[in-house]
Each structure stands twice: as C-alpha cells, then as structure tokens.
Point group: C2
Chain length 331, copies 2
C-alpha cells in the first residue's frame, strides 16, 4: 500500500506558498508491536497550523522541515497490534496530513460514527469545539446576562463560542467577514447581532451593538479587532486570547493592542489558553455538547474540500476567510 | 488667610508644560457645617496625575480646566465643624495641590505623626504603598519561589513591590534607570538583581537574570519593557498592569505589547487594577506594612522638593526619572 503525505519542505515567510510543501507517495509502514495502522479519512485544517510551522518552540514543538505536517484526523483502523484498538475502530488523533497513519495510540480516542457524522469529530466535537467550550466557560467565565463579543464568529471556534454563550443566557455579538457569514450567525445560529468587518467601522459598530460595553471578548483575530473590543470593555471584563489569525502571516512585527491600558481602567483580565490543558475533561465536554446538538441548540457546519493534494491551497482559505464553517480535507 | 493653589490652565499635549498650569493666590474659604479647614503640609506627585489631566472619563473624572489639581496630601486641621475631626488632627486625603484645604471628610483618614514621619503616609503607607501591596499580592498572587520582575523598581510603587515579594520568599529582579538606582534596589532593598534599562539591552538582560522565566511581572512602565517581560513568561504567569509611564506623554498612539501572544503560549494572564477598589482593606495593609517597617524588612525613601510653586517642574521629574524615591512637595 502506498502512503501519500504532505511534508513541510521549507519554512514560509508570510503566507505559506505551494513551494513550502512537498507532497510525496511512499510505501506505507507496518505497525510495530503496540501500534496500529489506520486509513485517514478526514483531516482538520486549523489556523494554529500557521504557528506550528514557524521556527522555535511555542506551546508545542514546531513541525520540522522534511516532516509530515501535523494535523488532526479521523481515521479507520486497518490493522492493530495495540491492545486498546482493533481493526474497524474509528479514531481521532494527530494523524498528520497523510493517507495512512501508524500510531502508538498516544492521544488517540475512539469515536462512534453512528452518533454524528465523522467529520464532526474534527469540528464541534474536536479541537475547535473543545477550544470554544473551555475558552468561553473556563477562561471567559461567562454568566447569565453578560454581553459577549466574539471575533471569527462564523469560524469553527467562534460559532460554537457564540452558541454556548447563548445557551448560558448571554447577549452575543459576532464579528465576521461578509454578509453571508453575518446572516448565518444571526439567522441560523441565533446570535443577537453581527458586525461585518469588511464593510463597517469596527470601533463604531462595536460601540453601537454593545452600548453598555463588553463583559467577555473572545478573540480569534487580534489586530484592529482586538483594539476595537478593548475600547469597549466593562468593569471586570475578561478578554480571552484564543488566536490572532490577522497576525499569523505578518512578515513584520505583530500589532500589539494599543488599547491594552483599558485593562487597567476597567480592572479587566486578558488571558491566553491552550485547549490541550483541558484534555482530561474533553469527554465530559463532548457529552454535554452532543446533548445540545441533539436538542437542536448547537449546530455546526463543515466546509469539506476533497483531496489531500489540495492541502497547500486549501489551507489558505483560512487566511482569506473563504471557508464557510470548519475547514476539512476529505483524504 | 491666603490660599495658594495650582490650577490646571489647559490640557497638555505630550509632556505637561509650565503654561498648562496656573498658580494663584486667593482668600481661603471658611469651613461650612460638616467641614474642616486644614493646612496642607505635603502633597504627593504621582505618574497617575498625567492621566487625570487628559480629557475624557477614565477610572476617575478628569481634573477640569480651571480646577485645582487633584493630589493626595497630608494636612493638619486648623478648624473643624466636622464631628469626626478636630483641630490639631493630622489627616490624609485628596487635598489637591494647594496650601489650605476645606473638606467634608469624604475619603479622609486620620494619621499618627508619632508612628512614622508624616510624608510616609503619602508613600509607603499611602497610595503608592497600597498599590504595591494589593497589586503584587491580590493581582500578582505571588507564592514562595516565584521569580518576580518589576519595572520602575526604584520608584514609590516598584520598590515596595519588590520588598514585599522578597518578604514572601520570591526571587526578585528590578528594572530601573541608572547605576545609582540599581545599586539602591540590590544593596539597600535586597533585590536579587537589577537591570539598568539605560545601559543594557532589556531583552537580553531579562533573559540572563530570569533564565527560567518570569512568574509575575509587575509593570509600571509599558512599551519595550513590557515586551521584554512578555518574551520571558513562564507557564501560568501573571502580568500585573499597574501603569505605563513610558507612554503617558505620547502624542501618537500608545505602543501596544507586540509580544502579547506569549499570554496564549504560556496560558498567562494580564490584569489591570485600580488601588481604590481595595480601600476597605487599606487599614489592614497599613498595619502589616508598618510592622514590616518596624522589623526593618521594608524601607522607603522620599524625594522631597520644597515649595508648591515648583509643582510644574517637579512633576516632570517623574517622567525623566530624576527623582530618587517617592516624589513629594513640601508645601
């Protein structure tokens, strides 16, 4: 059996180019004792990938040049020499951007394809959903009646953040790019308001839609968006730093938040987090979110592109915002 | 009796100039029923004053053009028609930058000149000391063994922050301007290390002196200093935003912290605070700090300039760093 895989060929400067990737086909390895071999069905494309291919240690080791690109995937086990897994099992884990995956089972969980479609395990029940759940509840510490602002609101994380905040009784405003996305979050997801950053003044729109200020700002974007939110904080506000997609491809310095002294004036907190720290509670979160989905209170959509070889171009959709929902490649 | 007072004549752009102030002499008002008249002995000069004279509401109303400049002061009561105070009492409160003060007693506390010299009630036992105490303990949440970095370390707040952190068993590094200040904080105050920002590369020096990273950074300065600290955070670090003296006189935008995504990587928190929120606990804090002073574990020095009419020039010492200790005017 032949394995097709996406390797990091060189470190990008700015937006990743086709030349930064190498797609190759090699023989599939056999699983050793304590390992399994699985066929990867879907892989997840995430903004965090941009950080993983930079030089230097961050919260996780960078992907090395010449290595298979790190990616979360859903796979079906073909052959197992691992006592916890057997052929036919469906699993999620860091499969990498490849067709076949040999794993020792570390960080791998079984999933049930009868419960929800498999791709959901990369979205609302996967890393983005967990990020939303723990970020808004544990870091944002929302309580009923809070005004919550979320950027990247039509994205895989933001859409779940907003819906959880609605479930918890908050007033929720989302920032997204374009009319379609704004209509989606208000009409389909039930957000109380939307700001189209492509056609409105962010500062003015945030002020208009959050006239009493913001209790919790969940930031996926950084840059001007973060500054617009900081300008409208209420007393004791919480700013959740989840990501900064507007800054990931900068070739110059990151734009730091000019309005950070709003934290002082408003006795506010800005806090970062990494979803991996909550791994022991994923299962409980997935149960609660599955129940919300069953009750029709939480929905999510995926944007599925076919073919592993589209990886270099598909990844770029995250940065121009052209994906509509959780971006996934069907391998 | 004639009252000399310092009025805000116009709002400064950048560094406050002599022309932004008006010093005038007028008749002293008599205290009404429920008021007292006091002679102001010392007033406190604080970096926060720069914010108080900007237009627009912050955590406190701005000083109006034509109004007496807001200032904390120590005063001796001359005449009282207030049931809680009598002639001869020494008090602290927001006396304003003037020789005679009529007050209804709101926010005014009696102090004992026999316990410590009166000027200490504007420094280590006043707003700067309270800011240090609550900032490092309640917001910084220091615990034994933490590495604590403090900027403005020879200043009225920073010097107390560092000494409290030492008392609590932390390793403390201070950032200050010039050899004298660096020697003062290490040799007299017992800091474990000092960085002279005027002669060293901040980024390199912070890395060298905090090789395992920073658990708590107490920031009085902002700008490049904040970025240098953010670059060296440890997991779960706390960044206490107390002030940003490097940015207060900017005529352009504030420099936001480019390295704020270190909060994400390190699951760290950046939090602002205003000392006034802790007013109900001032007395307890003052008792504990007085005990530390009596035990020789906490010391503080004041830089006293004579004459209210020096106010416009004396204030500027805070911004060029030429004061050595808590800056006070002897009225």
């Amino acid at each position: 059996m032949k394995n097709t895989r996406v390797l990091l060929a060189s470190r990008p400067v700015g937006l990743p180019q086709r030349k930064n990737w190498k797609i190759e086909t090699v023989d599939t390895s056999d699983p050793g004792e304590g390992e399994f071999l699985a066929e990867v069905l879907y892989i997840s494309l995430d903004p965090a990938m941009r950080g993983w291919i930079n030089e230097g240690k961050s919260y996780i080791e960078p992907v090395g040049v010449g290595e298979v690109m790190r990616a979360g995937g859903v796979a079906r086990i073909i052959e197992s020499r691992h006592r916890a897994f057997e052929a036919g099992d469906h699993v999620v884990g860091l499969s990498g951007a490849q067709k076949f995956w040999v794993s020792d089972g570390q960080g791998v969980s079984k999933v049930d394809p009868a419960l929800v479609p498999l791709q959901k395990y990369l979205g609302v029940l996967g890393m983005p959903g967990m990020t939303a759940y723990f970020g808004i509840l544990e870091i944002g510490k929302i309580t009923e009646g809070d005004t919550v602002l979320v950027s990247g609101a039509a994205g895989a994380v933001g859409a779940v953040v907003g819906q959880i905040a609605k479930i918890k009784g908050c007033r929720v405003i989302g920032i997204a790019g374009g009319e379609d996305k704004c209509r989606y979050i208000t009409e389909e997801l039930g957000f109380d308001g939307a700001i189209d950053y492509k056609s409105e003044s962010l500062h003015r729109a945030v002020g208009n839609l959050c006239p009493k200020g913001i209790d919790v700002y969940f930031d996926n974007v950084g840059g001007e968006t973060l500054d617009a939110a900081l300008a409208q904080l209420r007393l004791n506000a919480r700013v959740v730093i989840c990501g900064a997609i507007s800054q990931y491809n900068n070739t110059g310095p990151i734009k730091g938040p000019e309005n950070y002294l709003s934290l002082l004036i408003n006795r506010a907190t800005m806090q970062g987090f990494i979803v991996f720290d909550f791994a022991t509670d994923y299962a409980q979160a997935a149960r609660e979110m599955s129940q919300w989905m069953a009750d029709g209170r939480l929905q999510a959509r995926e944007h599925i592109v076919e073919g592993l070889e589209t990886f270099p171009e598909t990844l770029l959709m995250l940065f121009d915002g052209s994906n509509q929902g959780k971006l996934i490649i069907k391998v």
